[in-house]
């Protein structure tokens, strides 16, 4: 697949403060790249540089092979950008605002009207089309931001926290929209809602203190965790000690931890060695040694834990 967005050692300094520190990455057509990171990590700054709102201190950003600095107007015409909080001209009605955007994007008259109609129905803005933006709810405002970003059907879409502050239904709708468009575009989405990454992103990068800390699919990211793919066994109190000692001997198990759950049951987590398949071994131990258990399940680990591990716990980064 062709590379649509390419960042090469992109950096941004605000005085002595280094907001973005040498980020390099590529986004191909068909990819939905999730930008993860704590608040203030440099996600928005990076997006703003790609969108041409900020000038990079060093490094380059290319969109469809064109340098943002050298050909800003061309690059901006290739991007649909929704800024954080989707600021739009609040004194305008939704229709007037979209008409303005269409005109600037080179659409006017009949084709503009048709396209606005299309986008409005896709984004479900019909109900508020003639209301002024300032009276709209947060969810609708966000949708107006989304509508202006996709109005010209850009090959590259950059969305800064598109689901921030939306209710679960609205979030679901935005994710569906992103999924629908994903195949023909390169999409970059920033978020700190980790479930979103698993829901819509084909790949994710983790940014902390302006640096790229990890880059991969959500599976890749999860495999960083020692507890990734651990088998959890919930056992009855009488056989806890037996279970712990037996499970430790299963081939491929590197470590066993015992935790007391809030409901009183004991839960044993068996961490596999790198790449080891341990489920069969555990099954036979449970069967053959008469351990009485109520649940056995495999847990991939969660991205929250990955996030905390990579970005160092948060409190010092917040």
């Amino acid at each position: 697949m062709e590379t649509m967005v390419e960042l090469d050692n992109l950096s941004k300094h605000f005085g002595p403060f280094v907001a973005v520190d040498g980020i390099s990455l590529k986004v191909r057509k068909g990819e939905v790249l999730g930008f993860l990171g704590p608040n203030g990590a440099g996600k928005s700054t990076t997006m703003r540089m790609v969108a041409g709102f900020l000038t990079a201190t060093s490094g380059t950003a290319k969109v469809c092979g064109h340098d943002v600095e050298a050909e800003p107007v061309l690059v901006k015409s290739l991007i649909g950008y929704m800024a954080e909080g989707s600021p739009s001209y609040e004194d305008m009605t939704v229709r007037a605002f979209l008409k303005f955007i269409a005109e600037v994007r080179g659409l006017s008259g009949r084709p503009a009207a048709v396209r606005i109609e299309e986008v409005v129905s896709k984004i479900k803005l019909e109900a508020v089309i003639d209301r002024s933006i300032e009276v709209l709810s947060k969810g609708y405002k966000r949708r107006v931001g989304m509508a202006q970003a996709i109005l010209h059907d850009p090959p590259v879409l950059i969305l800064d926290e598109p689901t921030d502050g939306l209710d679960p239904n609205q979030k679901h709708h935005v994710r569906t929209l992103i999924e629908e468009m994903a195949s023909e575009k390169a999409i970059i989405v920033s978020t700190h809602i980790l479930e979103e990454v698993e829901a819509v992103c084909t790949r994710a990068v983790v940014i902390g203190n302006g640096k790229l800390l990890a880059d991969g699919t959500s599976e890749d990211l999860l495999s960083i965790l020692p507890e990734h793919d651990a088998i959890h066994v919930v056992v009855k109190p009488v056989t806890v000690d037996l279970a712990v000692s037996k499970l430790q001997t299963v081939p491929g198990v590197s470590r066993v931890t015992l935790t007391q759950r809030a409901d009183g049951a004991s839960q044993i987590a068996c961490m596999p060695r790198e790449g080891a398949e341990i489920i069969d071994g555990i099954n036979s131990v449970l069967r053959d040694d008469g351990i009485s258990y109520s649940e056995v399940y495999k847990h991939r680990g969660d991205l929250d834990a990955v996030f905390r591990k990579i970005t160092g716990g948060g409190s010092n980064n917040a």
Binding site: P87, Y89, F100
Partner: protein, 244 residues
């Protein structure tokens, strides 16, 4: 050019969706009238001319034009819409000129709203219509020069009050620079040519010669180059914030 007009249209639309535009125009018309008839003693003078009417324009602009200009960029920055604007496929110059054009057109509309006073004076006597036409053109140019200063000040801050005060102060310096009040401040230490430059860049002096009916080509050049300079400075300020 197309982009400039699209931006200007949106801006102008913004003026008229709030009562701001109508209030501004009403106050402008009321004040020009009040100054002309009461302070300027229009009837007592017994002359069919609008010289007194125009003579108050620089002072009115000093107060009112910064009020129009202050929102040009500060508001965009404050509300965050500047991010929307500058990520559209337009150049900084398009945005600067578009916004300026809208504000200037708006001042033009306010100026045209004072035409009844012209009609009044034509009814009462036989004024020199050529001089009045030229004075209107000169006043419009001067409003543009004031506006361009305001545009630049507005691009420097996200606070509209600061933008207003800063542009009123800079406009004041340019209005008064032909007078001893300002010149004496420079005479003590500045080289003579600089003092001459400052004296020559007085809006008041330029505009007075226009209202007396002697608009020279260099007066037009003066106001146009003022606008060019300050609008260029505006785009430098807007770009500088991107690189900051």
């Amino acid at each position: 050019m197309r982009n400039i007009w699209i931006i200007a249209k949106r801006e102008l639309h913004g003026y008229f969706t709030t009562p701001m535009a109508f209030i501004f125009i009403a106050i402008f018309v009321a004040l020009t009238g009040a100054f002309t008839f009461y302070i300027g003693r229009f009837f007592d003078r017994g002359q069919a001319s609008l010289e007194t009417f125009f003579s108050f324009h620089p002072w009115l602009y000093l107060l009112l034009v910064p009020a129009v200009a202050m929102r040009l960029w500060s508001e965009e920055r404050k509300s965050g819409t500047i991010e929307q604007l500058l990520t559209l496929p337009i150049t900084t110059a398009d945005a600067v000129l578009g916004k300026f054009a809208a504000a200037w057109l708006f001042c033009g509309i306010a100026l045209v709203s004072t035409v009844p006073i012209w009609i009044t004076v034509s009814y009462l006597g036989d004024p020199d219509h050529g001089v009045i036409t030229l004075s209107y053109v000169g006043s419009f140019l001067m409003a543009g020069a004031f506006l361009s200063i305001g545009s630049c000040m507005s691009a420097l801050t996200r606070n509209q009050i600061i933008a207003f005060i800063a542009s009123a102060a800079v406009c004041f310096v340019f209005t008064m620079s032909g007078l001893d009040l300002v010149l004496n401040f420079f005479r003590g230490w500045a080289p003579t040519f600089l003092v001459d430059v400052i004296a020559a860049s007085s809006f008041l002096v330029r505009f007075e010669s226009v209202t007396r009916g002697v608009m020279e080509f260099r007066d037009i050049v003066f106001f146009v180059s003022m606008m060019a300079f300050w609008l260029f400075a505006t785009s430098v300020a807007v770009d500088a914030k991107k690189a900051a």
